[in-house]
């Protein structure tokens, strides 16, 4: 089965840390993710994964009749925003939980484990 691991982040808290972050510091903060990515790939579990740009850069698009309505901002204006994701291949929920538990994001906040919809 395929699962998406959704990583929700507190953007305000991250932004507060950002000005102080030197390039060295930023590299240091990214290290656990680089190691985790490597582990996923080595185990043959990796399907996809990315960090997302801040939600301030989000555009919301919907059709109103034949008009395209474009709004700025994320779908829901909450403190926690989707900040990144992984798609992994795992035998079952227990295997997916094991990988989610190793994700750096699980160490200080929660990782959402969501099965990818399979028709039938």
């Amino acid at each position: 089965m395929q699962y998406m691991l959704l990583i929700h982040v507190d953007e305000a808290a991250m932004a507060a840390m950002a000005p102080a972050a030197t390039p060295d510091k930023a590299y240091e903060m990214a290290q656990p993710y680089l190691a985790y990515n490597e582990a996923l790939k080595k185990a043959g579990v990796w399907v996809a994964g990315d960090r997302l740009a801040p939600s301030a850069s989000t555009t919301l698009v919907s059709m109103r009749g034949d008009k395209t309505e474009v709004l700025d901002g994320p779908f829901a204006d909450t403190k926690e925003q989707l900040g990144g994701y992984y798609i992994i291949e795992a035998a079952d929920l227990d295997a997916a939980i094991q990988w989610a538990a190793r994700c750096p994001a699980a160490q200080n906040r929660a990782v959402e484990v969501r099965p990818i919809w399979k028709a039938g």
Binding site: Y3, A90, A91, D92, L93, D94, A96, P115
Partner: protein
């Protein structure tokens, strides 16, 4: 209607449940589709419950169920049209079992099924109902009435929980060592929840709830037999047997509540207590310490009164102390305070009770009943009366309520 003895009916129903649970587990373990497996077997199971009490249990009950499922199932599934999965299961049965069935029995995957039902991703309140339905074949209405939930609500929750097992990919596996203790705790917790629902109906007037106690015992036996080296599985079975053994003594013939200390030990089921004691001895020889073993040990001390004529309160105080430090349960704290009162007098007991300081106790009847009893022993009528009033207001069981009211009236009559 039926001429056969009730014993034959019970035996046939037990055999039908055994075989049904094994087949559901066998099929669902391969597909994770519990609803589909149940659907494929539903008609065959109903036929078994109808026919086996008359015709006797067939030599190979699983083969019988499979044959009927195959014969009737395809039409039934076609009629319903909604459950494609049922047809897939029938195909799976045909493929995997046709050859193998004659040679050997189907593997028993019920433990895997129970671990799936009690998976941490399943709502804790739904774990026991899910086990009762999938392992024992209870319908949603029976489970709903036992758990005092509206049938439609229970049916909907069961459907959702089964969909969740399939969609989320909850595995049918027995967890390995580091994980096993925690996961097994959830399985045992669900079994105990089923038993406890049945235990609440002390008078045995609500047949469905009383049955739940015996079904809980049945699941406990199954788990203990499949995991004979897990001390907590043995501990839970022992605990349930100790409790069930006292059922007949919990009410008088005219329905009055009998507190444990006042029960007539001649009404206890000696064979059941003997079995519970044997299990506890085996479990206690194994490594570690666990909640169910401790609770079984506490029950063993109470039940020892049948031979010693007395209750070993120092042992109880120690056991509750250990249970409290292990679980932090306020219920253990209350019982510890009651044991302390027996040892060191009502003042010490009341102090221990007041030291608990758990907000949940405000709505917990035994806390107020214990407090009332100890205050009465100290001659504090005002406090005792107030505490009895609280306890009476919180009690659902009428017999217990009448007992508390009588105690309270004894205060008014200057009995203190």
């Amino acid at each position: 209607m039926t001429a056969q003895a009730p014993g034959a009916r019970a035996a046939a129903e037990a055999a039908a449940r055994q075989s049904y649970g094994k087949l559901v587990a066998f099929l669902a373990a391969r597909t994770r589709d519990v609803a589909g497996a149940e659907d494929a077997l539903a008609d065959a199971f109903a036929a078994a419950l109808e026919r086996w009490p008359h015709d006797g249990v067939p030599d190979r009950p699983e083969a019988w169920l499979l044959a009927v499922a195959r014969r009737r199932g395809i039409d039934a599934v076609r009629r319903r049209r909604t459950r494609e999965a049922g047809r897939d299961h029938l195909a799976l049965m045909a493929e995997e079992l046709e050859a193998g069935m004659a040679e050997h029995d189907i593997p028993d995957e019920r433990l895997r099924l129970m671990f799936a039902c009690a998976h941490p991703a399943i709502d804790p309140a739904m774990r026991a109902p899910l086990m009762l339905q999938t392992v024992l074949g209870f319908d949603a209405a029976a489970i709903a009435s036992a758990f005092l939930v509206a049938p439609a609500t229970m049916a909907q929750r069961l459907v959702r929980a089964k969909a969740r097992i399939k969609q989320a990919g909850i595995p049918f596996r027995i967890p390995e060592r580091p994980e096993l203790a925690e996961r097994l705790d959830a399985v045992l917790g669900a079994i105990y929840a089923a038993f406890a629902e049945g235990w609440l109906d002390a008078a045995g007037t609500e047949t469905r709830r009383r049955n739940l106690a015996s079904e809980g015992l049945w699941l406990g036996r199954l788990t203990a037999s499949l995991l004979p080296n897990e001390p907590e599985a043995l501990g839970l079975l022992s605990l349930m047997l100790f409790a069930e053994a006292r059922r007949a003594a919990r009410r008088t013939d005219d329905g009055r509540y009998m507190p444990l200390a006042a029960q007539d030990t001649a009404l206890w089921d000696n064979a059941m207590i003997d079995e519970a004691e044997r299990l506890l001895v085996v479990a206690s020889a194994m490594e570690g310490l666990g909640r169910y073993r401790l609770e079984a040990a506490i029950q063993a001390v109470h039940c020892a009164r049948r031979t010693t004529g007395g209750t070993d309160w120092p042992a109880l105080a120690t056991l509750y102390e250990v249970l409290l430090s292990l679980t932090g349960s306020p219920v253990a704290a209350i019982n510890r305070a009651v044991a302390i009162a027996r040892l060191d007098g009502p003042r010490a007991g009341l102090d221990a009770l007041e030291a608990i300081g758990d907000a949940r106790l405000a709505d917990y009847q035994p806390f107020w009943a214990a407090r009332a009893d100890l205050a009465a022993q100290l001659g504090d009528r005002a406090q005792a009366t107030a505490a009895y009033d609280r306890a009476i207001g919180l009690e659902r069981d009428e017999a217990v309520r009448r007992f508390l009211q009588a105690e309270r009236e004894a205060l008014d009559e200057g009995g203190v």
